[in-house]
Symmetry: C2
Subunit: 121 residues, 2 copies
């Protein structure tokens, strides 16, 4: 039989809201999620896990309490567990997140930007 | 301070051999690895873990005992644990692998294509 690859562009075409990650794949107990982001997110951390950001299209800045990192298309950054961070994008940016299943986007911070978890696209 | 993102193009420029994954990042006990592949790999499986293939540039086919999947740039596929697979690329293809630290590229099959593990670039 012919299996079908997961195409990022196709998956991104299926949703438009910001800061609301969509699961596209699972590997063991980890998930790959796509998100469209624009503007400022909230300060938060994930006390139990590292988190990977990969920029698929656009530009993303991630602020830390002691600095920042800028990512563009084809770049990856690992946020170590427990490190407070605040992503922001001046224009819409398309990203992929890799993290264990069950991680909430706002960590322990909560608030109105907290997305429903485990939504597949 | 200014942190530095991991740039795929930059990392790919630092090695040229085929079927020899280079680690670029760790997330918990998982690794992100880049590889250049060309030609046929060997049939193998990873009995204890799923494995993610992402094509960064080029085209990759992965054969299974019951079929195949074709991936191009911007596509992802999860090989379930224990499923025999044989990647092949007609022309050089640049890929990213995501899997637990310690996974050997040829699984239990071994042979001359078995790469030294945990080599960072």
């Amino acid at each position: 039989m012919t299996y079908k690859a997961i195409n990022f562009k196709d998956k991104f075409s299926k949703f438009s809201d910001h800061w609301s990650p969509r699961v596209i794949a699972e590997m063991n107990d980890y998930q790959f999620k796509l998100a469209k982001v624009e503007g400022e997110f909230v300060w938060h951390d994930h006390p139990d896990t590292d988190e990977v950001f990969i920029v698929i299209e656009g530009e993303l800045d991630i602020e830390f309490r002691d600095g920042a990192v800028s990512l563009t298309s084809g770049e990856l950054f690992v946020i170590p567990k427990g490190v407070e961070h605040k992503p922001r994008a001046i224009r819409e940016c398309k990203i992929m997140l890799v993290e264990p299943k069950g991680v909430v986007n706002t960590g322990d911070t909560g608030g109105e930007l907290t997305a429903v978890n485990d939504i597949w696209v």
